[in-house]
Symmetry: C2
Amino acid sequence: MAPKIKDVAKQAGVSVTTVSRVLNGEKYVKDDLKARVKRAIDELGYAPSHIARSLVRKKTNLIGVIVPDLTSSFYSTILSSIEETASLNDYNLLVCNIIEDTDKEFKYLNVFNEMRVDGIIIMHEKLNDEIRAFLNKLDIPIIFSSVRPSDQTFLSVIIDDYAAAFDATHYLIELGHQRIGFIGGDMRDVTSGQNRYIGYRGALSERNIPIVDEYIRFGDYKIQSGYNLMKEILACGTHPTAIFAVSDDMAVGAMNCVHDHQLKVPDDISIIGFDGSQLTELVRPQLSSMEQPIQDMGKVTVETLLDLISGDAETPKEDIILKHKLVVRNSCGPYREDK
Amino acid sequence: MAPKIKDVAKQAGVSVTTVSRVLNGEKYVKDDLKARVKRAIDELGYAPSHIARSLVRKKTNLIGVIVPDLTSSFYSTILSSIEETASLNDYNLLVCNIIEDTDKEFKYLNVFNEMRVDGIIIMHEKLNDEIRAFLNKLDIPIIFSSVRPSDQTFLSVIIDDYAAAFDATHYLIELGHQRIGFIGGDMRDVTSGQNRYIGYRGALSERNIPIVDEYIRFGDYKIQSGYNLMKEILACGTHPTAIFAVSDDMAVGAMNCVHDHQLKVPDDISIIGFDGSQLTELVRPQLSSMEQPIQDMGKVTVETLLDLISGDAETPKEDIILKHKLVVRNSCGPYREDK
DNA sequence: TTGAAAGCGCTAACAG
DNA sequence: CTGTTAGCGCTTTCAA
């Protein structure tokens, strides 16, 4: 059995209180006692039980994180940033990978509650009623990262998805494209689904470019989905000369589809992605993308959550909007007459 | 403050023991009491404290996981599988992303210890002396996944890296290639560094194909590294007609480099990767790869660790070797005279 | 400066 | 079947 504080006390010939004091770096301990305690700790290889500490301190230094898909380049990167920031602040991550599995999510939320985690980070916005109700009853600070659920009860760290989608589409228009297709997300998602779609339409409307329903498809943000939707779009009579996909994954899927149809990106079809994931630099041609500040998003999410946890007065009441940024690589070219 | 078991007991007019009993699904509780307790739990929105339970049960249902790089396709996939299996068995994951940061790893290992996690999964093999010593003193079950550290103290779930590398190289030879380059890993790593290298050499030797040092480079498994090493190899007078890269990431980097030099895969150079990560199907041409059973590896790792934790007699004393598998896609072609 | 003792929220003998 | 009670390993008054 691992040694306990009592064993250390005995070994050092002091009371447990004194041991506790040196453990917690308190001042009022004479140097010689402190030294004896430290030696005893070393000799016994003692490590304080975080469990016992949590019980009395009512603080676990645990953050529960709900990720939609660990294997996605976007989420794994943001998670990595979350982990880094948490670690820097002496917090640890309990991660749950829910793959569209609502039951699993609910179960984990319950576990987080029982674990008495200090805070919860959620990275998807498809909350069902059961979960929404549960979340509202929970008195654990909750923050959403990269998404905002439809009700405004919780704080979110996001970008302005409407503006970002608008700007991405605008970029394609500026390149001279008129037939611009849209590979969208889930319209049940406000931020990544609806807002990006509206932004796309907004940019076209502003220039009086007709909106062609045939060029517009919705999927699930994944590569395969991008591939399939692109296939449908290519089946249109005169297909678009440019595509705006609302995730890099979908954009890559679309690129692959174009490739498999013996067409060239960007010569035949320009494609712009969204997110700024690692994929952008990994594919050929490299993917231009409307990028979210992924690293920063993770960092800000954790820092804001920690403020929420510590009950800091300065904690923002409104969503935190980070800046998006167009990063041009090689997947978009000017419109060419002959195509 | 969240309600405690005592509150439930009072509300239901029973003792805390009875509440504890229905909480733990014990038999000897009369139905009417059971019903009253359940109602009280609902009314109060009571959730038992995992902290308190852990303290008395001496079991946390926590598994600490050390991942070298969360954003890597290989590790995020295996982590995803680990998470799934753990969740199925009511275990939760504490994840630590160490990015070649030994201090962070040491710190986390200490945290795992203080948290009294029930088991630890480690996915890298570069243990320094300090960490090795710490691990040996720890009396928490530890298992290595996808790697095996040089000393045999701990159990590993791996493939036969020598055989896999041999087979991959052999495949290229069968395609008629004689000038076969090698993009390797870190030679301090026994499994993914040394064994794969020896396997490569073994396959060449078997056919009496001379080993050309110029065609052999070592890196860090990442895309950028593969890119850079390929660049060096292409700078050789007569460059190889085929490349074996010991990670899919490096293989993709090499492919990109070939592409950026206006050469074609596989027409000019064949490339085979290693791992079987998601990247293989995402790039064009799709990458042939010597695949590890990633999903299964995560699953087996957790299941074996759980056996270790429960002290099952059947727990294997020797490393668990899973089967590798060559998956042919479009990145390797037959040797052509004209190239 | 130091220590004794109460208690964090729960489980598990041990009685009844 | 049900309740009393003693801890689990630590922090924290409160006294000394």
